[in-house]
């Protein structure tokens, strides 16, 4: 993809543990276009967070190790950058919103100081300019009396308000890419709706690209334009959002959709559960990582790990079986 601002190629990440090396990310490639919202869906341990964290060198190393791959941001490889170089990109051109706003804000510094820091460091503002801009940012994310609240500490904000502060911080330097790692998972339903509404509004106003990591297919449906589904450190399906929900191909995606109850369901349907549990990969598998849980699995699935195969326009899935017919692809 030439028009991609972020182009990840063959990323592989392992973690050293006393029981052996865990292969968390196994050759992940994807692109992110300007202004696009990309949803990355998967269960815990599927490598969705590790992929993003390693691009920004936020993986503690050791135990984490980037074995292979490239992360091209405007053509420059993020993975080859020195700590000093990446620090100029992190928080200014690519920023992150984390899951738990209580643990990702510093509890002993005021919200104002934390908001001003990137403005002073990355944009070279003076303290006074930064203070003014910080108030504007808080106002933009819908915190009332923004100016007076700059002197407050994180514990004086509610969970939803803290997440708003995190969003203000992430957007403070007008980044081109915002990576949001399960930003609404810790929040209540009505607060999640508030935050998603805010993100939709800010995206339309500011036009940044967003990578939204989540385990919730419902959240992705309401926000993303394109979706990547991950399993066992692999991308197993990739499609535009409407296509994915209308025409899911990979057995795992089908299973995930089947196991979700819908609030608009009429009558009672038994949920389709996926037997077994997600894998912990001590070695890079030479078969399909989903084969042990897959009801369509055939001989080939145990012999060769399927690559992402083209299925439709911009739709790819890593499966040897055509789940529409049950026969080999």
């Amino acid at each position: 993809m030439s028009d991609a601002i972020l182009d990840v190629k063959e990323l592989e990440v392992t973690f050293k543990t006393p029981d052996g090396n865990i292969h968390a990310v196994n050759g992940v490639s994807f692109g992110l276009k300007e202004g696009e919202t990309l949803g990355i869906v998967g269960e815990s341990g599927c490598g969705k967070s590790v992929t993003m964290m390693s691009l920004l060198k936020l993986i503690p190393s050791p135990p984490g190790m980037i074995k292979n791959g490239k992360g091209l941001f405007h053509g420059n490889d993020l993975l080859k950058m020195s700590n000093e170089e990446i620090r100029h990109i992190r928080g200014s051109q690519i920023s992150m919103i984390f899951q738990d706003p209580m643990t990702s804000l510093n509890p002993v510094l005021t919200v104002g100081l934390q908001l001003e820091e990137p403005l002073i460091l990355h944009l070279g503002m003076t303290r006074n300019q930064a203070r003014e801009r910080a108030a504007e940012l808080l106002n933009m994310v819908g915190i009332p009396n923004a100016k007076d609240r700059l002197g407050d500490f994180p514990h004086q904000f509610s969970g939803g308000m803290r997440q708003r502060v995190m969003i203000a911080m992430a957007l403070s330097c007008s980044p081109q890419v915002v990576i949001a790692d399960e930003p609404t998972t810790a929040l209540d339903m009505t607060i999640q709706a508030q935050i998603m509404d805010l993100v939709r509004r800010l995206r339309d106003e500011l036009g940044m690209a967003i990578i939204w990591i989540t385990h919730d297919l419902g959240v992705v449906a309401g926000l993303a334009q394109r979706v990547i589904v991950m399993y066992g450190g692999f991308i197993i399906e990739e499609a535009p959002v409407k296509e994915l929900f209308a025409n899911p191909q990979h057995p795992y995606t089908l299973g995930l959709l089947g196991s979700l109850p819908r609030v608009d369901e009429m009558g009672h349907h038994r949920l389709v559960s996926i037997d077994g549990s997600p894998p912990v990969l001590y070695e890079k598998p030479n078969h399909c990582p989903f084969a042990p849980r897959c009801k369509w699995a055939m001989e080939k699935c145990w012999k060769e790990n399927p690559p992402l195969l083209g299925i439709g326009i911009e739709h790819r899935a890593a499966c040897w079986v055509d789940t529409r017919t049950g026969s080999a692809r």
Binding site: E43, S44, S158, G160, M161, D188, M189, T190, I191, Q192, A193, Q194, D197, H215, D216, L217, G218, V219, V220, A221, G222, V241, K242, F245, A246, G255, L256, L257, G258, S259, L260, P261, R262, V263, D264, E265, M266, H268, R270, L271, V272, S273, I274, D275, S277, P278
Partner: protein, 331 residues
């Protein structure tokens, strides 16, 4: 509420306040948390009543107070003709065999130093209902029932995944053949693909043993899936209670309407089509709840009467209870 013969559990005017104390040696009570404030509902034999609400709304406190794990401040909980609030000592212990609980966190609710066999068999030991040999047999049966290999009984909880641990918790709850189980967010700590496994298991067991569930969760879509009737809680009170389908199609309380519109639907087309109601602000503190209607501070249709008079929890139409002054507008 109308009396019916098939009511298994009846909760009337249940109140649970937690005192807030200050001081180290001489403690003074400086306030109360109004965790549950005068709620009434009943649970029919064999049904699942879903209790849904956001964190801090008192849904878990309700579950625990019903089981007398917390003693209520006032009110009554009548189970099988016995008022559990008045029951003490041996009588309460005896009743507890019929009332069990499945906890939220399968990592915290299993003792890491006990084997699975000891955990699942403990209720039988405590209630002295079986000999050692019978207990072993029963444990093996229970493990099989919840889909675990009976040979696992000598293993420790850390050897199991989250979903398997929750199955152990379910087996323990079933050990004494209860008729009523409080499921306190039993799946919210689990991965999506595992959630469906546990929910299906709970449904199968319900059919097999004609169990009655009080299913507590914050996830309205899961509650809607598993429950026959749903009670929506907000800040210590039940604001609406109705049949699942009725509640979804014709919500009468503005909070229920907002909650329904906030639930993500895994379908981009359906999701884009529906109307979103975005509530302003946060849930107020239960230490000092708003006067009148507790939802009025965030309510899109609040008027002056809402600050003055607390709306009565009433039957707006048969089987559909609501606590809002303006519920009739949505009928």
């Amino acid at each position: 509420m109308a009396e019916a013969n098939n009511v298994l559990l009846r909760v009337d005017n249940l109140v649970k306040h937690f005192p807030i104390r200050q001081g180290i040696i001489i403690q003074k009570q400086v306030g109360v948390v109004h965790a549950v404030d005068d709620i009434s509902f009943d649970v029919k034999q064999g049904e699942t009543l879903g209790l849904v609400g956001e964190s801090g709304c008192g849904k878990s406190t309700t579950g625990r107070t019903v089981l007398q794990l917390y003693r209520p401040t006032s009110g009554s909980v009548i189970f099988d003709g016995v008022d559990l609030v008045k029951a003490k000592g041996e009588e309460l212990r005896h009743m507890r065999r019929k009332l069990q609980m499945i906890f939220q966190d399968p990592y915290a609710s299993l003792n890491p130093r006990m084997t699975v066999g000891e955990i699942v068999g403990e209720p039988l030991v405590v209630h002295k209902t079986a000999s050692q040999k019978e207990i072993e047999e029963r444990v093996a049966n229970l493990l099989e029932l919840v889909g675990l290999n009976p040979t696992f009984s000598s293993r420790y909880p850390h050897e199991f995944s989250g979903g398997q641990r929750q199955r152990i918790g379910v087996a323990r709850a079933l050990a004494l053949q209860p008729s009523f189980i409080v499921c306190d967010e039993p799946i919210s700590a689990l991965d999506v693909s595992i959630q469906a496994q546990v929910v299906n298991l709970l449904e199968d067991l319900q059919k097999q043993f004609s169990l009655t569930y009080l299913f507590i969760a914050h996830d309205l879509s899961m509650v809607r899936h598993i429950s026959n009737r749903i009670a929506v809680m907000y800040l210590g009170i039940i604001v609406e209670l109705a049949d699942g389908e009725e509640l979804y199609l014709k919500p009468l309380h503005p909070y229920t309407q907002a909650l329904l519109s906030a639930v993500p639907i895994p379908d981009p087309i359906a999701d884009a089509r529906r109307e979103r109601i975005i509530l302003k602000g946060d849930v107020p503190s239960p230490v000092n709840p708003p006067s009148g209607c507790r939802f009025r501070t965030r309510c899109p249709i609040a008027e002056s009467i809402c600050a003055e008079v607390q709306p009565h929890f009433r039957e707006a139409k048969p089987g559909h209870f609501v606590a809002c002054h303006f519920a009739e507008r949505f009928l």
